[in-house]
Amino acid sequence: MTQLLVLREQLQKFYQKYTLVLNPLFRFITGYITFYAANRVVGYNPLLNQTWAEVITGCISMLFPVQVLLFLASVFIVLQIAYVSHYLAITTAMMFMVLYFIYIRFVPKHGLVVLAMPVLYALNIPYAMPVLMGLVSTPVSAVPIVTGVAVYYFLLDTVYVIGTSTEDTINLYKLVMQQLASDTQMYVSVFIFTIVTFIVYFIRERKADYAFEIAVVTGSFLNLILFLIVNYLMDININILQLLSGITISCVLVWVIQFFRLPLNYAGAENLQFEDDEYYYYVRAVPKMSISAARKKVKRFNTHHNAEEETGLESNIEQEDMDLKENKGIMPGHDFDFTVSLDKEDLEEIEKEN
């Protein structure tokens, strides 16, 4: 645990130090994964279904804020579908526009959750999102999760209909909508993810020790149990091995996020009681876990009065040290850092002696 905390501390420092580089890098990775996932689901256009296309679109999304990624991903998906069916591409674009005008326009942050759901489905870890949102957000976050699930199944049904039809007509759109309306897996996913989000939120709100960790494990376990029960009762053809691996990875992923977000030291919890004029308070304070990473420090001992002279002298001596190292070939292993500062009086005395 200590090592993990040290690692967390080091990573935070590393991030703070290189924020300017890391932020665009994260945007690139997010963009790349998004377009990679889009290609795995609807990779029709041979021009766009290439690694270099994913890299280029990732680079483009690196230049813009994360919110623009949603627009770029929508355009990318429409272009992919347009390669096989113009009618379906137009109707898909219209549906994305409806989604934007009545929902994402007002709650832009939810747009990222909507986008993340199909991406996580493509990576086989959609189970992470309801647990994570229950942990960090409110039950309202079930709405973007449900919308994201609907978008993913809409794309999946589009792929199914394109695969089974031979000609490009407007009837394809009707078939896609009929297929979507009868998609049991979508309804099951919507139902389970909503319940998981609510339960995880409910547990993490409890004033119990390890409430966050319990919420993560319970949410993941609930995902597994509910999908297994529904699969048994309704026979919705879920791959058990994929389900198990997906839920395990999701659980670990969310636990890691929670650890980096808010590690709490329940052993050091304090129960306080105090009062003011109006109330009597029962307060439970749980300290955050934190540890300082070991750091090598060289201390300099100076006796000086004039800061400017000191700086001048130090730089001179350091320059001389550098020269000595270069001339005499002092090995890096014997690199002693030692500084001598002299007062004005000392300097005058030395000059007199010379």
């Binding site: 109707t91 219209m94 549906m95 005008f101 407007i170 759109y173 909508m177």
Partner: protein, 141 residues
């Protein structure tokens, strides 16, 4: 020489600007009525556009039926079937958005007040030191 007090004030101002965002700060100078009306209009426009798109999608879904019964369709009934829900939707949208943006305006004002306090402190600082800020956009506002 770097002045610590001035730097602290400017850091706070920059933090508020980052947290609130340019849009919220700019809208902070609007009157309450203007703010609510502009957002209501924006919401109504968005919902109207979405409604039209949904109608088009519904028409495309029933395209076969429309072509087959183009002459026999009761257009007066259809007009009411389309516009009554639209009217109700827009009314609902207007009421909800007026309540929501009224509340949002109050919350944003509270946040912006703190930002203005810091701005006044900075202004006071400049006037006390006898130097007016040459560039009033220096904080990025």
């Amino acid at each position: 020489m770097v002045n610590e007090e001035k730097t602290r004030i400017m850091i706070k101002i920059a933090q508020y600007e980052t947290d609130l965002g340019e849009k919220v700060i700019n809208e902070g100078s609007c009157y309450k009525k203007d703010y609510i009306r502009s957002h209501m209009l924006s919401a109504m426009f968005n919902f109207s556009t979405a409604y039209i798109l949904i109608l088009v999608l519904a028409a495309l879904y029933n395209i076969d039926y429309i072509f087959l019964n183009f002459v026999t369709i009761n257009y007066v009934k259809l007009f009411f079937e389309i516009f009554v829900p639209y009217f109700l939707l827009i009314m609902f949208c207007a009421i909800i958005s007026s309540i929501y943006f009224n509340d949002k305006y109050k919350k944003d004002r509270e946040k912006i007040k703190k930002y203005y306090v810091e701005l006044k402190r900075l202004e006071k600082y400049y006037s006390e030191s006898g130097k007016e800020a040459m560039d009033d956009t220096i904080t990025g506002a």
